[in-house]
Amino acid sequence: MSIPFESRVSVPSGVLVSEVGLESVFLNLKSESYFGLDEIGTRMWKLLTESSSIQVAYDTLLQEFDIDETQLESDLDELIQKLVANGLIEIVRE
């Protein structure tokens, strides 16, 4: 199921993020599991967690990357679903 893009993303308190060059590593203290994101995933993560909505992050990514709108929407939705499934972000519906 797709995440509504008007929603906002927040980071749960038990999630720690450390940047390594342009990549990043995550630790979810609740599940005691590590995760990694590559350079593009890290950029998506930063925009998602710093933007007022997923839509704003999407618009910025569309400007930054040479990518088809539908493809970006699909990629972003897939990443969000994975991050939610691993407890690395929460969706705030306002």
Binding site: L29, E32, G36
Partner: protein, 382 residues
């Protein structure tokens, strides 16, 4: 891994040892079966035997256990103490114990696999009405003014030491706690309890709690300290509080990224969490300092974690990924060859012969090959 000098240092610490001796004296009867987990050079086991225990199982993975055997011989307790070389989690006993005694703590009881080991030992070794020594550790904190400790910890990394800009190191240093020995005069707040480890009930290795502290005098705070007070049995125990604690443990000093001027009455709220991840603890401390006269006004706010103090590289990240395809190294090939040669019939010397024959470029002598076989067997085999 402890050295023999460390064990000797621990037993010479009277603030620690006298309560342990007293706890054993009060608990051990002539019918008692005692298990000493992490016996080291065997002192708790010897003391249990001295107190009259019928049988003592002394478990230790370190080679120091040989000194423990020698001490048991020298003191005439060899018949009543059974030494078991290995990790207690890999050991089975034929009878349940009346008493389990241990001290597997580091600076803090939340250290490595300590709590896992106690939970395992309690579950598998202890009688239902058995006694654990210690019974309880109480973790206490206080905010401290410790400029020397603080500067020694990381100030030199940033201020052009050796003519170098060492600021990138700061991220690691400010997210690292270290052993310290502050005095009680350095405390800017009264001690505040963070949590309790009741070893008879403990089910989780993690601990988390919020601390609310109030500055009782003006000063410049550099962070907070954490120590434990212990109840070994009934009313026997000791404290590691600054200014009178046991020598061996000290306190853990958790620095803040910058010194914070405090006025009497200022409020300090700390969310402190210790989470066991793999074999070690990730410590996370989130601090908020507010003005005592205007509680809504936040003076400082920090979020720190030992997670941020782990040096990581892109290569390490790549290697931990599920998509990473590992390749066998020559070291792995050698270990695999040795393991394949071990069939329950060949001696180590015979395996070394085959190893040298198979990898002549790596083992110029049979002795080198034998050393490697010994390393592999001590790592994987009994």
């Amino acid at each position: 891994m402890y050295q023999v000098t460390d064990y000797v240092g621990m037993i010479r610490d009277q603030v620690r040892m006298e309560p342990y001796v007293e706890a054993l004296r009060r608990s051990v009867k002539d019918t008692s079966v005692v298990v000493d987990i992490g016996t080291g050079i065997g002192v708790f086991a010897l003391l249990a035997a001295q107190c009259g225990a019928r049988k003592v199982y002394a478990i230790e993975p370190n080679a120091a256990i040989q000194i423990a055997r020698d001490l048991a011989d020298a003191n005439g307790y060899s018949e009543r103490i059974e030494f078991i070389e290995g990790l207690s989690t890999a050991v089975s006993l034929l009878e349940r114990a009346d008493i389990i005694v241990s001290d597997l703590r580091g600076v803090l009881p939340l250290a490595g696999k300590h709590l896992n080991t106690i939970i395992d030992a309690r579950t598998r070794f202890l009688k239902s009405d058995g006694i654990l020594i210690p019974q309880l550790d109480v973790l206490q904190t206080a905010v401290v003014e410790a400029p020397e400790l603080y500067n020694d910890h990381f100030d030199g990394q940033a201020s052009g030491y050796l003519g170098l800009d060492l600021r990138p190191v700061q991220k690691f240093m400010i997210n690292t706690w270290r052993r310290s020995r502050p005095t009680d005069a350095q405390m800017l707040t009264a001690p505040c309890e963070w949590g309790r480890l009741d070893y008879h009930k403990l089910m989780s290795c993690d601990l988390s709690g919020e601390l609310e502290l109030t500055a009782h005098r003006n000063g410049t705070a550099n962070g907070f300290i954490l120590w434990f007070d212990t109840v070994l049995t009934a009313d026997v125990g000791f404290s590691n509080a600054p200014g009178g604690g046991a020598k061996g443990y000290g306190s853990a000093f958790f620095p803040w990224p910058a010194p914070v001027p405090l006025s009497s009455g200022d409020q300090i709220r700390i969310q402190l969490r210790a989470t066991l991840v793999d074999d070690d603890y990730i410590w996370t401390w989130e601090t908020e300092v507010s003005d005592g006269s205007k509680p809504a006004k936040t003076k400082s706010q920090f979020k720190q974690s030992t997670f941020f103090a782990q040096p990581l590289t892109a290569r390490l990240l790549q290697r931990s990924s599920a998509e990473f395809v590992p390749l066998q190294t020559i070291e792995g090939s050698i270990d695999r060859f040795v393991l394949e040669c071990i069939d329950g019939c060949r001696t180590q010397g015979e395996v070394a012969n085959k190893l040298q024959e198979r990898f002549p470029e790596y083992f110029s002598s049979w002795r080198d090959a034998l050393t490697r076989v010994g390393e592999v067997t001590s790592r994987y085999l009994s």
